[in-house]
Every structure is written in structure tokens, then in C-alpha cells.
């Protein structure tokens, strides 16, 4: 569904449902260089199970107009303006990787509008290596390779995919290939420079869930464990076989964890 935010096209997937202010809303925020369709199975499930769904394309990603937003804090403010444009008041915010930092900032900066946050593939600090940043800055395909290989569990290229017939590496690379130059670097730099994690966690009053891949090479669970301690209380679900891309690597377990958490009143 198209919205207008800051005078520009802003897209959010709604699972082909009209939005109803009387329903609860699940708002999904993708990670660096990705878009709404990364949440395909999970967002669709919520749309067909009584929820408003807003799986956003951040500016400069997917169908939303650019340019990309430079900081995590500004991304969180943009997400709330999209919620305004959709005519919705509160939402449960589900974020993956960079999106998880956006979810934390949503909870910290707009507490009254965020009922709970689910943080997938999260870590803080979310530092990005120099080589990765440099390759992304130069729009080199090696940056796509790093995102793809580190973005999945090590066994992914040598194993089966829960989604019949799909090749996860190829899917990730194809998504990144569609990006405008500079967008991946923008996102990685936003993650790298984000310094509000501890303060954001301290300000977060709503329920918090971490969903982590036990074989995550991008945001290791041990780093996430430290971040989880910064919140007043946070639950954690560890997905043993999954890497960073748990929505594709362990789609059912990810959905089950999300559904159990979001359906809590």
C-alpha cells in the first residue's frame, strides 16, 4: 500500500488487507539493504490472523522513494510518520538487524505508540568492519558477498532450504543488486555509528523479545546477550539451526516465536 511521508512515496506491505484502526498493528522494519518482502511468510501470517500489517520499505529501499535515511534515530521517526500516514496509533514493532535498532529507537523515542518490540538478529554495538564498509562505499560486489555469506549460517550453502526450490544466497544477492548505489553503505554506516543502544534500552518500558540465530555470523548471540541485559526485562528465543536471516532460514520457528510474543495482550 502506498502512503505519502514527507511528500514522498512510502510503501508498506499490508498483506492485501485494508487497515483497520480497531485492530492491533504489527509493524515490520527490514535490515540493511533489504525491503519488506524479506518478511514474506511472517508478515503474511499476521495479515491473515487479525492484525494490521505494515511491512515497510524504508526510504530508498524497495518501492519507497529515496534518499535513504542516514541515522537509526531518524529512521525511527520516519517509521512513526508512516504510522501517522496510515492512520494508526500504536504498533508492535518488529525489526531485523538494522531494523532491530530502529525498533529500539521507536520504543525509546515514541513510547506511547509502541506496545512491544521484537528484535531479530539484533546486537549492540552493531559495528561493521572496515573492509565491509569500504566495499559498500565503493559499491563493490564484494560488499554484497559479505552481506550474503555472513548474513546466513555457515551451513546454508551446503544444505537445504525450507522454502522449496529457493537458493538463499542467490535471493540475497539479487535483492542487493537492485539497490541504488550507496544505499547499502548508508545502512551499514547507520548501524556502525549508532550509539544509542544502551540509552534506548534504558528508556524502553514495553515488553521486549530477542529472536536470535544460534549460528549468526553477523550479529553473534553473545553480543545480543549483552544487549538484552541493558533492558529492564527481555525474553530471548534462540533458534539453533539459524544464522542471521532467520526469516528465511527458520521461517516457522521465527513465526512461532513472533506469534507467541505478539499475541500476548
Amino acid at each position: 500500500m502506498d502512503f505519502t511521508v514527507d511528500g514522498k512515496r512510502a510503501f508498506a506491505y499490508t498483506a492485501a488487507h485494508a487497515l483497520d484502526p480497531a485492530k492491533r498493528t504489527a509493524l515490520f522494519v527490514h535490515g540493511a539493504g533489504l525491503d519488506h518482502s524479506w518478511w514474506g511468510l511472517q508478515s503474511r501470517w499476521f495479515g491473515y490472523h487479525g492484525w494490521n500489517v505494515l511491512a515497510v520499505d524504508l526510504p530508498g529501499h524497495g518501492r519507497s522513494g529515496g534518499p535513504p535515511i542516514a541515522t537509526v534515530e531518524a529512521m525511527a521517526d520516519w517509521v512513526m510518520r508512516l504510522l501517522d500516514a496510515a492512520g494508526l496509533g500504536r504498533a508492535a514493532v518488529v525489526g531485523h538487524s538494522m531494523g532491530s535498532l530502529v525498533a529500539v529507537e521507536c520504543a525509546a523515542r515514541h513510547a506511547a505508540r509502541v506496545e512491544r518490540i521484537a528484535l531479530l538478529g539484533a546486537a549492540y554495538p552493531m559495528k561493521v568492519g572496515d573492509a565491509f564498509l569500504e566495499a559498500a562505499k565503493k559499491n563493490e560486489t564484494t560488499a554484497f558477498d559479505m552481506s550474503t555469506i555472513w548474513g546466513h549460517a555457515p551451513q546454508v550453502p551446503l544444505g537445504g532450504n525450507p522454502n522449496p526450490g529457493m537458493w538463499m544466497y542467490g535471493d540475497n544477492l539479487a535483492r542487493l543488486a537492485r539497490l541504488a548505489p550507496g544505499v547499502l553503505h548508508n545502512d551499514l554506516l547507520a548501524c556502525h555509528q549508532y550509539a544509542g543502544g544502551e540509552a534506548g534500552a534504558a528508556k524502553t518500558a514495553c515488553p521486549v523479545l530477542f529472536i536470535l540465530g544460534n549460528r549468526d555470523q553477523m550479529t553473534a548471540p553473545r553480543v545480543a546477550a549483552g544487549f538484552a541485559k541493558a533492558f529492564k526485562s527481555a525474553q530471548t528465543v534462540l533458534l539453533p539451526p539459524s544464522g542471521h536471516s532467520m526469516m528465511a532460514e527458520a521461517p516457522d520457528a521465527t513465526l512461532d516465536a513472533l506469534a507467541a510474543f505478539l499475541n500476548q495482550e
Binding site: 492485501a16 555469506i149 550453502p157 542467490g170 537492485r178
Partner: protein, 445 residues
Amino acid sequence: MAGPKYPSFDTLALHAGHTPDATFGARAVPIYATTSYVFRDSEHAASLFNMERAGHVYSRISNPTVAVLEERVAALEGGVGAIATASGQAALHLVVATLLDAGSHIVASNSLYGGSHNLLGYTMRRFGIDTTFVDPRDVEGFRRALKDNTRLVFGETLGNPGLDVLDIPAVSKIAHEAGLPLLVDSTFTTPYLMKPFELGADLLYHSATKFLGGHGVAIGGVIVDSGRFDWEKSGKFPQLTAPYAGFHNMDFEEESGTRAFLLRARREGLRDFGACMAPMTAFQILQGIETLHLRMPRHVENARKVVAFLAAHPMVERVMYPEQPGHPDHELARRLLPRGCGAVFSFDMQGGRAAGKRFIETLRVFSHLANVGDAKSLVIHPASTTHYRMSDEDLKKAGVGAGTVRLSIGLEDAEDLIEDLGRALRAAQRATQAPKDGAKAPKAG
């Protein structure tokens, strides 16, 4: 700092797409000979039908054994995913039926497998889909043939049977400038010899019956999508970018982005046309793929030896193999096919049909049949078989003459193949020198 490394082609050929069986620990890919799959409960059933969870419902749509093959070929090609079909022809049909409606148009190379030429030139026209065939060596001809209703550009990586090398970078540029995808038939080259997506193609398919399977025991096809073509940006494919009443009003591109084409092809095309692959077939083709990286170099090595022999033989007028310096696509082949030009090629013999008939019937190691890409060496006379239904004019456009013989070079000892060909050529030569019918035959001895 060195970047991370992908598994090599050889490793992917053996492992991609398959996790060893969790129940019994089977290392080989199990053959899931089942039509259907037990739901955990009603909610699970509903969520599978509505594409809220991953999994299998009915083997016409997907099957665990077939899915291993699909993922493995997608990995080898560098695509987002794949769909296995009942044959290579079913693969081409599924692409056309997914992307085109009645009233739309294809621009295709005229150097195609005869079956593909039939499908596009005759059968699809019955359903309102027209095709303009162009000379693949006249790259601008693709552009000139484009119409407002064109929705697909199509060619073979190596044309059949003249081995025209499709200039994929140039043709894909023309297609993309028109907002259209380029589909290539990659059967003759396999991902070992060429990666069409790296050159600009958007979709590809294989007759997996040929080199992928490699043993001549199973018929099958595989479509792979690069995921790189932006259907939304093109604006010419409402099949993928507008709600479809035939599948829950789904907008496939909105739903799945890079996977839009495969989603509709599977959820509509396999569901409604039903040309799916059987799990046993997928297993057999997987056995072939596990040695693709070993077989293809040997195919090429043998082909080069046979080409060298034929090119020097007085009975042979010309050998159509792009590695030959005189081949029109020699330079293009050096650029696009550095690992070799495959093992299927044609040559023209002196003596016309009579010589060709004697040649084929004298061969002992080569099998006379309608297939290519087998581990065994094969031979056929296209004008009377694979291209039989083509008019003389179309035959000429496709580079097929009355004396054209097509060989598919297998994995036998190359010296045995050359000896077999030499004997058959001598027999063909004698046939051309024999008295004509009605003349008195010389006495024996």
C-alpha cells in the same frame, strides 16, 4: 582482510540444496515418492495453503526430492531459485505461459532446437502468442523486431544445430532497454561452461535430460530465475505486479520481490498446467549433476579432438564448432565460453543425403538417436529428424543443410570415436563413388 568465500562450483554440485536426512541419517538424497504431506493440524494446513509457512502440500506443486534439484541448479547458476519441470519443453512453455498472454509477442533467435521452434512458431500462435524469429548473429535484428506487445526475448546460448553463440551481453542490453527480460536455453553449455546471468540474461532453462542428467535415463527441465529483472519498474507485466484473482488476489512482485516470477510459475503454472517433475527423475538428474564438473571437461576435450579430426578430413566440407578459427562466432566464443564450446556440433559432409545415410548407418560406437548430452556419443541427421518439420527456408536460416550431421560427443576414448568416424566417412565416400542405380555393378574380387 580477505572477504568471505563461496563454496566452489564443484562443492555446490555435490552438496547444494540437501541436508542429510535427520531421521535416518541417509547421506544420499532420499526419493520422496509421495503425492502429499500430512498436516500437523488444521491451522498448519491453512497456513501452508495461504503461503504463510514454508513446506510442501502436494507434489505437483513441490516435492522434497525435486526441491533439492531445484536448489542445486539455482546454486550452480547463481539464481534466486528454480522450478523443475517434466521436460525442457515444459520449462519453455511454463516461462511463456507465466509471462505472456494472448496478444503478446516474443522475439526469438531463429537458431533453435526444432521443438522450441515448433512451440513458438506454430503451437503458441494457436493461443494468440506470436513470435518473430531473427538471425542471432544480427544483434540489432532483435531490436528491429521488437513491438509494443513484445514481452520476451529468447535465444539459445549455443544455437541448435549451427552453434551460433548468442551475444548475451548485447542482446540483454537491447531487451533491458525495452523493459523486457532475456530468456536463454542453456542446455548445451550448462553452468559449468557458461553462467548466463553473469552476462546479462534474466531467466534461463535447461533440458535437464541432456548434460545435467548426462546418462540418458530421465526426461526433465529446470527453469532458473536470476531475480535481477525488476518487473515493477518495467511496468509491462501485470501478471506479476497486479492482484491476481486466480491466486488470492496476490500481487506476486509485492509479495515476494525477487521471487515473483517463480512464485507465479509455481503457484499458477505447475498448479494448472501440471507439468511437474517426478521425484525419481529428480534423483536421477541429481546423480548426473554430482559429476557435472568432471564430465564437462572430458566432453569438451573429446569434442576438440573429434573436431580436429573432422576438420582435416577430405570428406568434410565444414565443421560448425565455434572454437574453429573460421567459425563466424569464434571471437565471441573466446570471450563468452572460455572453458569450451560444449560437445554438440554439426558438420557438413560431401555427398548429400546418400552419403549421410551411409555414414550414420556405418557408425558402431555412435548411437543414431534423437538426443544430445549423453555420456555416450550420439549422431543424428537434423534435416530428416529434429528439424524435419521446418521449411527449407527455415532450415537454411538455421544453418541446416541436406548433408549436415549433428554429433554429441560422449565420454568414450576419443581415439575410438575418431576411428569409428573415420570408418564411417570412408564408407560414405565409397557410397558417393558407387555406380548410380541401373548401372552395372563391378564384379567382386
